[in-house]
């Protein structure tokens, strides 16, 4: 008798993924330039939140220092463009990924020796080391002025697309949207495979019960470290993609409030679901942009949303929708 299948239903996956991809592909044709730009920000943050949630949702480790890896990816691209005069975005991304991988391997080695609040404090402290370096070594990093990465200085698809001359801004936004969308889809697919792999199951086991995990032969600390590096690399990738869009990177992106925003995004969408961080990141981006535009007390607005979220929707947007759908299906 063949073994009964377990795991996610392929039909359900297709039913969710295909319409979502189609909508994302067609959106720029209807929403205009500004909204498309906002959506690019949302997608880059979604990649970061997706990585962040490998630690929080799947491994049970709450990092308050992921701004370090987002900033590392961003600054590496800025250094590559400014100092090496490399224009290819693909090489910039590769450089951003490599530098994030190296720094997160080092930071992660220190952090995963602890859990709970000690882990959180260590990640926070180490991220602030990078922030202070970026802040103080202004002759290298530009200090508070940061480093400019104008869109005209990068090319996409190995030089096939450049953004100089008339209409460069709108050409860049639309081309970059599809560029980021493809990277986003690849990132989602890779993360989906990781969390549904035996390694992903081992991480969830560690999250649930680390003592038992070690008694089934899982090297808890090593697996946490690998999860940390993967998580940071996704966040670094997001940082690398974010720089040309933003046109500038400053120490602010390494500062701890941005780590808090990543936590916010993930909790907003729901950290116990795969798609929660994606939805949360896109929603948070819109929420912040419109809160900033409509009130000088935008932090108050975001704070109130967070309080309401934790008290009323502890499972986040996706978690709540999931529960609602499950209730509707019940006979």
């Amino acid at each position: 008798m063949p073994a009964a299948r377990t795991g996610p239903s392929p039909k359900l996956l297709l039913a969710v993924a295909v319409p979502a991809v189609l909508v994302l592909a067609l959106l720029p044709t209807v929403i205009g330039l500004y909204q498309t730009e906002l959506l690019i920000y949302g997608l880059t943050f979604a990649i970061a939140a997706l990585g962040f949630n490998l630690l929080l949702g799947y491994t049970g480790l709450l990092s308050f220092g992921h701004s370090a890896y987002f900033g590392m990816g961003a600054y590496t691209v800025a250094f590559i463009v400014r100092d090496l005069h490399v224009q290819s975005m693909e090489l910039c991304i590769l450089g951003g990924l490599l530098s994030t991988l190296l720094i997160s391997a080092l930071f992660g080695y220190v952090c995963v020796r602890h859990t709970r609040i000690f882990f959180g404090i260590l990640t926070l402290a180490l991220s602030q080391v990078l922030w202070s370096l970026a802040f103080k070594f202004f002759w290298v990093t530009g200090g508070t002025d940061g480093i400019r990465v104008p869109r005209s200085s990068v090319t996409l698809l190995a030089g096939l697309l450049d953004f100089k001359g008339a209409g460069a801004y709108s050409r860049f936004v639309y081309a970059y949207y599809y560029y980021v969308l493809i990277v986003f889809l690849i990132a989602v697919a890779v993360m989906w495979v990781i969390v549904h792999s035996p390694f992903g199951k081992a991480l969830q086991a560690i999250r649930d019960n680390e003592t038992r995990a070690s008694f089934v032969g899982i090297r808890v600390r090593r697996y946490r470290w690998i999860a940390f590096v993967i998580s940071a690399s996704f966040t670094g990738l997001a940082g690398a993609l974010w720089v040309p869009l933003n046109g500038l990177t400053t120490p602010e992106i390494l500062y701890w409030p941005f780590s808090g925003e990543l936590v916010f995004m993930t909790v907003l969408g729901g950290f116990r679901t795969f798609s929660g961080p994606i939805v949360g990141a896109i929603a948070f981006n819109y929420l912040k942009v419109y809160a900033v535009a409509s009130s000088q007390y935008w932090q108050l607005v975001l704070g109130c949303v967070l309080v309401v979220l934790v008290m009323v929707l502890p499972t986040g947007i996706v978690g709540t929708i999931g529960r609602f759908v499950a209730q509707m299906r019940r006979p």
Partner: protein, 257 residues
């Protein structure tokens, strides 16, 4: 050669001698029960052997190798598995995934991050087989936290069993379950363990269970081994009855209160 041998094994907690110069030998395929009053050091002893606690001194020899300084995971890889007094399973994973994870670990596949766990037919088949052996097949897709206490106990043992150990420690596998479920759980465990030729060491308070299933009984008191022997020998041992019951009848455990 004994499968497991402890030599002058010690573990103290301050003045308390939890494990005090224990010299224990377990032969292959034996079903051994560790008994003794509360605080006798039974759980501490298996905690030290399975590396949940470190030994202060002494040696643990397993299959001829000194494993005293090996980590938990290294001892699991060497062939030692255990279940826990308080159920220790992965509550947010399905019953199936709990067992599948142990199989992935045994096969060295938990580091694989480029393949989908649910498409591994060999593991699926084996996990379903184990769930069937332990009577948990009907609960395969539910979360472990939703199982009844007796089922959770069985899942705890099934997790350890899925590692295909040479030596299996079972710490009070029937504690907290009804008398009716006790027999069922022990029958299931005994049939699986004896069927596979696994050496089992069980910590148990219920002497009916101990006498029924054990090849040998080891009695502990104050961290040391007080007596050991076959169920018949232990049944007749007045010193053991005195320690376990507080007083002894004319013929050890035959006294009826």
């Amino acid at each position: 050669m004994a499968l497991l041998q402890t030599i002058d094994l010690k573990r103290y907690f301050g003045e308390t001698r939890a494990v005090d110069n224990v010299n224990l030998s377990i032969e292959e395929r034996e079903f051994v029960s560790l008994v003794g009053p509360n605080g006798a050091g039974k759980t501490s002893l298996i905690n030290v052997i399975s590396a949940l606690l470190q030994a202060e001194s002494g040696k643990i020899i397993f299959r001829g190798e000194d494993i005293t300084r090996l980590s938990t995971t290294e001892r699991v890889k060497a062939g030692i598995a255990r279940s826990f007094q308080l159920v220790n399973v992965f509550d947010d994973l399905t019953t199936f995934d709990n067992v599948a994870l142990a199989i992935f670990s045994r096969q060295g596949k938990t580091a694989h991050l480029g393949s989908l766990a649910h498409l591994d037919e060999d593991v699926n088949r084996e996990a379903d087989g184990i769930l069937g052996q332990f009577g948990l097949a009907a609960k395969r897709d539910g979360n472990a936290r939703d199982l009844a206490q007796g089922e959770r106990k069985l899942l705890d043992v099934a997790l350890a069993y899925a590692l295909k150990p040479k030596l299996l420690f079972l710490d009070e596998p029937t504690s907290g379950v009804s008398t009716r479920d006790k027999g069922q759980i022990m029958d299931t465990i005994a049939s699986v363990v004896r069927g596979e030729g696994i050496t089992a060491v069980i910590v148990e308070h219920d002497m009916d269970v101990v006498f029924k299933y054990s090849d040998r009984i080891v009695v502990m008191a104050q961290g040391a081994i007080l007596a050991q022997g076959t169920p018949d020998e232990i049944r007749k041992n007045e010193q053991v009855a005195m320690v376990l019951l507080g007083s002894s009848g004319p013929d050890g455990f035959t006294r009826k209160d």
